[in-house]
Amino acid sequence: MRARTLPRPPQRPPFGLLTQLLLALITLALLFRFGAFDPSVISRLGNLPAFVAEMLPPDPRPMPTLVLSMLETVMIAFAGTTIAVAFSVPLALLSTRSLFGPQVTVPLRFLLSAIRTVPAIIWALIFVVTVGFGPLAGVLGTAMYSTGYLSKLLYEAFDAVDREVLEAARVMRVGKLAEMRYVVIPEAANYILSQSLFMFEYNVRASAILGALCGVVGLKPSYPAVSRDGVFPLAPSLDTVGFHALSVWDTAAALSKTTSSPELAQRSDPFRLPSSVGSAVRLGYLRSWVEGNADPEVERAAESFVRELEAKGFEVVEAELPDHELFRRYWYFIRRAEASEVHEHWVLERPEDYGPDVRRMLEEGLRIRAVDYVRAMRMREVLRDAVESVLRELDALVLPASPITAPEAGLAKVKVGGREVDVYSALLSFTMPFNLTGHPAIVLPYTLSSEGLPISMQLVGRYMRDHELLAVALAVERALDLKRRFKELRVRTSVPSS
């Protein structure tokens, strides 16, 4: 109640004409800055109807897969939100000004806003360290972020509870707990419900991204299968656009939608891939490359992979290829020379803007002789033919994706087969050969090392016959039940904290 009536300030509309104009101008200026009025953008507006037409009618075939993925998304969001609600209500109560003094509410509100500033995806990554990859990390990440967010929404609602109602209870000296239980919570019950549902809906959208943290299948299509338009080049004749996904099926879907080859687009359509190729498949294990050149654990995993395949009726023979050091040599010349060509201007003008490793690599590349490059390009054809001729008798080559498991960050050298090699070349040594020859390769997660790090197997298929490789990979994935198996491993095993 006021002691005397004060003159009211003159009423002004909250957004005067001038303010509105100013806002409109700023928005237009920003749109201009982002290139919205570029003639090329405007001319491309015609693409919109075409894009919409592409989506109609929707393709019913991926529905079963989509429904299952959506279900997992919803489950992650549900569990995360429920946990968040359980934590948010007490936290929000403690942050309510009409219940607690600033010595409690201020630090708590600060903490909650700190939690909020870290996005859910980062929280999920933090939890990956403790619970490993998988939906659980997503649930905990979602719960953490939502707690920060929901607590704020709730304490705002609690603050807004009619003070008088609280005072009527307070005069009866019922105590803080009863004030919460019998006044604040019932009075704000509708808000608690609506904000929790809002949070759930928000999380369903957010966890669509978090679920992808589990993605581990990788497909490198044949070299020219997918256009490199828009990709900043490293080494143009080696650069290949590939896909990481949850399953072989998903990579096939990605390839069929992105390849510039109409034939591949049609044939790698996951709905057209043959569902059973099992018994007729002939695989070639590159034992000579693996033996003595890989971490013993990786080698053992590869052997057991082969045995399992045989047990499932796949025919596995030994395959021979030229020494992979040969591939490395030519790959090295091409990679270095082409990268240095792309970066020539910058590495000469602003060498200090590169990290020391990359700079050294690029500067070395500038000194590679044309003769070496040309020879490397010619030998590459020879090696491609060698791989092709081996594959004439086989459906795919089998070897580990990498001779080592993921090394500790920052490590420069690792021991492989008794020799010290630098991490970078070790990591690439089983994939680089087929990058050089342009053969399609797919990597499947197989098992975990004793340290809990993933070990993946690689299948290499015939040049520009990516769909055949995908069919084989699909059969392997199914026969060995890799999808389910790896998912369980990921959930059970944690990443070592070292």
Partner: protein
């Protein structure tokens, strides 16, 4: 029981004193009406009396009939907006009055002793709310809400109920209904301190009356001994 305000001064954050040396006493078994215009300090006076606001100077003290100071007086407070919890049932609202003498952990889980529940039902029956025991409080009419608030104070065992603008929002007929109820309860020993600006109610329903103007009690006495004209003039 008597609740005494002795030379009470109070101001909110600004330097203007809202209460300026108020002396007044509210007794159980009596209906005291505090009259005053808007802004005269009525609401503040009740809040200070209820212990919700600390006086800047002076004191608020409760004494029993033999003049001994009470450390835990049973006082109820009904704010202008009535203060019932809209999302709870009438019964729960009333049981909150029994919270401080019930086992806390059970009461927080929503379980009250059987005899308290029975008592609450009796009180509601007495106040004519027997039919709406399980209704949510927000679904009630204004007069019913007032009675729920009274029922809660009775449940709490309040000897004195401080009611702010108690009947201001009710229509004339409901006002009379509620005040008749107040009179009935007064005869059972419950005291009421009611702020209002409705002089017209004083002769029939008040035992004592006080007029508050600019934070001071400018007129105080037995309702029967002060002519309505004087009250109007004092306002």
């Amino acid at each position: 029981m008597q609740l005494r305000l002795e030379d009470v001064w109070f101001s909110y954050r600004n330097p203007v004193d809202v209460l300026r040396g108020v002396n007044i006493a509210f007794s159980s078994g009596e209906v005291t009406m505090v009259l005053g215009r808007s802004g005269s300090g009525k609401t503040t006076l009740l809040k200070v009396a209820a212990g919700l606001l600390k006086p800047k100077r002076g004191r608020v003290v409760a004494v029993d009939d033999s003049g001994v100071e009470l450390s835990d007086p049973r006082i109820g407070y009904i704010p202008q907006g009535i203060g019932v919890v809209g999302n709870m049932s009438v019964l729960e609202n009333v049981l909150l009055g029994a919270f401080d003498r019930s086992p806390k952990a059970w009461a927080l889980l929503g379980r009250f002793p059987r005899e308290e529940v029975e008592r609450a039902e009796e009180v509601l029956e007495l106040l004519g709310l027997g039919d709406v025991v399980w209704k949510r409080a927000r679904e009630l009419s204004g007069g019913q809400k007032q009675r729920v608030a009274i029922a809660r104070s009775l449940m709490h065992g309040s000897e004195l109920v401080l009611a702010d603008e108690f009947v201001s929002q009710l229509d004339p007929l409901t006002t009379i209904e509620v005040l008749e109820l107040v009179r009935k309860l007064r005869s059972r020993g419950v005291g009421f301190a009611i702020t209002t600006h409705d002089v017209h109610l004083v002769p029939r329903y008040a035992d004592r009356v006080a007029v508050l103007r600019e934070g001071r009690v400018v007129l105080e006495g037995e309702a029967g001994s002060i002519a309505p004209e004087d009250l109007v003039r004092a306002l």
